[in-house]
C-alpha cells in the first residue's frame, strides 16, 4: 500500500497516520473475527459428540461473520481489492481519467456515507429499544451491530479521505499498481476469488 504523496497530502501528518492506522487496525480486527468463526465452528462441531454445548454458538458465529465482512471493508478498499470493471476506465489517461475517477469516487462516497448513516441509525435504534437476540443467550443486539455500523462508518471515512486526496491531485490509493512479477499476477488472480 502506498502512503500518501506528501506534496498532495492535504491532511496534517498525525491525521494521515491515524487514518491509515484506523483502516489497518479495523482490518486486523476483521481478521481476528475470522479466526473466531473458525474456533466457534470447531467447538460446535467437536462439542456435539462430546456432549459439550456452546451456548448460542450459532448466534456468535453469525455475528463474527458480519464483523469480518464489514470491519474489513475500508482495509480491503485501500488495498485495491474491492473490484470494479476496469475495462473502460483503464483506457483513459490524464485529465479524462481524473474526471472519471472523481465521478466514481463521488458516487462511491455518497453511497458509503448514506449506507453508514442508516447502519448507525439502526444500531442506535436497537440500543434505544434495548432489542435482545432470540438465542439461548439474550444479547443486546446493538453490541454485535457495532461491527456492522462501525465497519460501514470506517468505510465512509476512507471514501471521504480518498475523495479529498484525489480531488487535490493525489494518486488513487485504491488501485493497485500493475503487477510487476509473475507471482503477483498469479496471486492477484487468486485474490479475485475466481
Amino acid at each position: 500500500m502506498s502512503s500518501a504523496d506528501p506534496r498532495h497530502s492535504i491532511f496534517p501528518d498525525w491525521l494521515r497516520k491515524s487514518l491509515d492506522g484506523l483502516y489497518l487496525v479495523s482490518g486486523w480486527l476483521a481478521g481476528l473475527f475470522l479466526i473466531s468463526i473458525f474456533l466457534i465452528m470447531l467447538a460446535l462441531s467437536a462439542g456435539r459428540p462430546l456432549g459439550i454445548d456452546v451456548p448460542a454458538g450459532d448466534d456468535f458465529a453469525s455475528w463474527a461473520m458480519a464483523a469480518t465482512a464489514f470491519l474489513g471493508l475500508a482495509h480491503t478498499f485501500r488495498s485495491g481489492e474491492m473490484i470494479r470493471v476496469g475495462l473502460l476506465i483503464e483506457g483513459l489517461e490524464g485529465r479524462k481519467r481524473w474526471i472519471m475517477e472523481m465521478i466514481a469516487l463521488a458516487i462511491g462516497t455518497v453511497t458509503a456515507v448514506y449506507f453508514a448513516w442508516y447502519g448507525i441509525d439502526m444500531t442506535m435504534t436497537s440500543f434505544r429499544f434495548n432489542d435482545l437476540s432470540q438465542g439461548v443467550i439474550a444479547v443486546p443486539l446493538w453490541i454485535p451491530q457495532l461491527g456492522f455500523s462501525g465497519g460501514l462508518a470506517i468505510l465512509a471515512v476512507a471514501f471521504v479521505d480518498e475523495f479529498l486526496h484525489v480531488l487535490f491531485g493525489g494518486a488513487p490509493r485504491y488501485e493497485k499498481p500493475p503487477p510487476a512479477t509473475a507471482e503477483e499476477v498469479v496471486e492477484r488472480a487468486i485474490q479475485s476469488g475466481a
Binding site: L34, M41, A66, A69, S79, R84, A104, G193
Partner: protein, 437 residues
C-alpha cells in the same frame, strides 16, 4: 403498476447499472445505487432503514460463515508443497494411458479441486509443478496448457467451491445440496478432458514422449504415499459433511484445521504466513460480501417493483422450449462473461433470471450447476479469463496462444452443459438421494 411503467423502471435501472459499472464504480456499490434507484419508484418505503436491516440480516448469517473459511483454507494450502506431492503420487499410475502424464493435469486439478474452492488457485497450484515437469519431458505445450486451464476450472465445480457458496446464498438454496450436485458433472468433465487428451495423443503419436522407465509395483506404491495428506484432508472434509457430523460451515472449519496441520507438517506454517493467510482471506471475504450485500438490496428493491415476476411472465409468453431458454441464457452469459468476473455475473443476474428459470420449471440446484459450468467457460475464454491470466504468466506465452490452447476444453465444457441440460438427473440424483422429498 402498469406494464409500460415497469418497462420504464427496468430501463432506468439497467441504464444506471451499465453506466455505473462502465464508469468504474465498485461493483457492490453500483448494485446498492441501482437498488436505491429502483426503490424511488415504490412509494412509502423507508429506503435507508430497509437497506440497513436487510444488509445486517444478510451479513450476520450462519450459512455464509462457510465462505471465509473455505477462502482461508485455500490461502493456507496455496502456501504448501501439496501440488508437488500430488504430482509425484499420481504420475506413476498414468504412464500406460495414451497421453501419459498429461492426465496428471486433469486428475491433479480434480483432487486439488476437492480441497480448494477457487479455479485460479487450482490452476496455479497444479501448473506450478506440472508445467515445468511436462515441458522437461517433451510433452506438447499447447495440450498441456489447455488441459491445465480447463481442468483448473474444476476448482469451482468440485465442492467445496466459493462460487457455489455465493450462488447458494444469492439463490437461497442449500449449500450442501449444491455441493453434492457438483460431483457427477465434474466426473463427466474429467472424463471428457481425459478422453480428449487420449484421442489427441493417438492421433499425434509423434508428439507424446515415450513412457519413462517402468517402476515396480512396490515403488509405485511408495510414490503414492505422497498422496496421503491430500487424501486425509479430502476424507476429513467430505466424511464430516456426508456422514452428517457437521454442517457445511463446520466442515469448512475442519478443512481449515486439516490445512493448518498439513502446512505445519510440511514446515510452511509460520506466524507470518498464518497471519498473511488470515488477512488474504479477510480481504477476499469483504470484497465478496460487499457485492452480496449490494445484490441482496437490489433484489429486495426489484422485488418491490415487481419487475422480475413481470419479466418471467413476459418470457413465458414466448412459449420458448426449455432448451431454447437455456440456449438463449447460455449465449447471454457468454457475452456477460467477457466483461464481468464469475462471482459478479452470478449475483447480478440471479435477481432477474431466477424467477424466470423457476417459472420455466427448472430446479434452482440444477441451474446453479449450469451457472458454474458457464463461469468455468468464462474463465478459460478471453478477455477476463482468470485461468488464462494465471497460465499466461506461468508459461510466459502470450494470451492468444493460451486462449487458443484452451479452446478445445472450452468446447468440452459446453458439451457438458448440453449433457446436463438433456439429462438433468445427472445433476439432481445425488442431492435427491441425500435429501429425499
Amino acid at each position: 403498476m402498469g406494464t409500460i411503467e415497469l418497462v420504464e423502471i427496468a430501463g432506468v435501472v439497467l441504464a444506471a447499472l451499465l453506466g455505473l459499472l462502465a464508469g468504474g464504480v465498485w461493483i457492490g456499490l453500483s448494485l446498492l445505487v441501482c437498488g436505491w434507484i429502483a426503490m424511488l419508484f415504490v412509494p412509502g418505503i423507508p429506503v435507508g432503514a430497509v437497506l440497513a436491516t436487510n444488509s445486517w440480516s444478510n451479513g450476520a448469517s450462519w450459512s455464509l460463515a462457510a465462505l471465509p473459511l473455505f477462502v482461508w483454507m485455500g490461502e493456507i494450502l496455496f502456501r504448501t508443497k501439496l501440488s508437488e506431492e500430488m504430482f509425484r503420487g499420481l504420475s506413476p499410475w498414468l504412464g500406460w494411458l495414451p497421453g501419459r502424464l498429461m492426465h496428471v493435469n486433469v486428475l491433479g486439478c480434480g483432487l486439488f479441486g476437492s480441497i480448494s474452492g477457487s479455479s485460479a488457485a487450482t490452476t496455479a497450484m497444479i501448473a506450478k509443478i506440472a508445467l515445468p515437469e511436462l515441458k522437461k519431458r517433451g510433452y506438447d505445450e499447447m495440450v498441456s496448457l489447455g488441459s491445465l486451464a480447463g481442468a483448473g476450472t474444476l476448482g469451482i465445480l468440485i465442492p467445496p467451491s466459493i462460487t457455489m457458496v455465493v450462488y447458494a446464498v444469492a439463490a437461497n438454496v442449500s449449500i450442501i445440496q449444491i455441493f453434492l450436485a457438483g460431483f457427477l458433472p465434474s466426473l463427466i468433465v474429467m472424463a471428457l478432458y481425459c478422453g480428449y487428451i487420449a484421442v489427441w495423443s493417438l492421433l499425434n503419436p509423434d508428439k507424446t514422449p515415450p513412457a519413462p522407465a517402468k517402476m515396480s509395483f512396490k515403488e509405485k506404491l511408495r510414490e503414492s504415499a505422497n498422496l496421503i495428506p491430500v487424501a486425509l484432508l479430502i476424507i476429513l472434509v467430505f466424511a464430516t459433511l456426508l456422514l452428517g457430523w457437521a454442517t457445511a460451515t463446520e466442515c469448512a472449519a475442519w478443512g481449515v484445521l486439516g490445512s493448518l496441520a498439513i502446512a505445519a507438517w510440511s514446515g510452511s506454517l509460520t506466524v507470518r504466513s498464518f497471519w498473511e493467510s488470515v488477512m488474504g482471506a479477510t480481504r477476499l471475504t469483504c470484497m465478496i460480501m460487499l457485492i452480496l450485500t449490494g445484490a441482496g438490496f437490489m433484489s429486495i428493491a426489484m422485488g418491490y417493483t415487481g419487475i422480475p415476476n413481470a419479466l418471467a411472465t413476459w418470457v413465458e409468453s414466448f412459449n420458448l422450449s426449455p432448451y431454447a431458454l437455456i440456449a438463449v441464457l447460455t449465449v447471454m452469459y457468454i457475452v456477460l462473461g467477457a466483461a464481468l468476473d464469475g462471482l459478479s455475473m452470478i449475483v447480478l443476474t440471479t435477481v432477474v433470471v431466477l424467477p424466470m428459470i423457476q417459472q420455466a420449471g427448472f430446479d434452482l440446484i440444477w441451474f446453479g450447476i449450469f451457472l458454474i459450468l458457464i463461469v468455468e467457460m468464462a474463465e478459460v475464454s478471453p478477455p477476463v479469463g482468470f485461468n488464462l491470466f494465471v497460465l499466461q504468466t506461468m508459461s510466459g506465452r502470450d494470451s492468444l496462444t493460451v486462449a487458443k490452447a484452451s479452446l478445445p476444453f472450452f468446447f468440452l465444457l459446453m458439451a457438458t452443459v448440453a449433457i446436463i441440460t438433456v439429462f438433468p438427473d445427472i445433476v439432481m440424483v445425488l442431492p435427491r438421494m441425500a435429501f429425499p422429498g
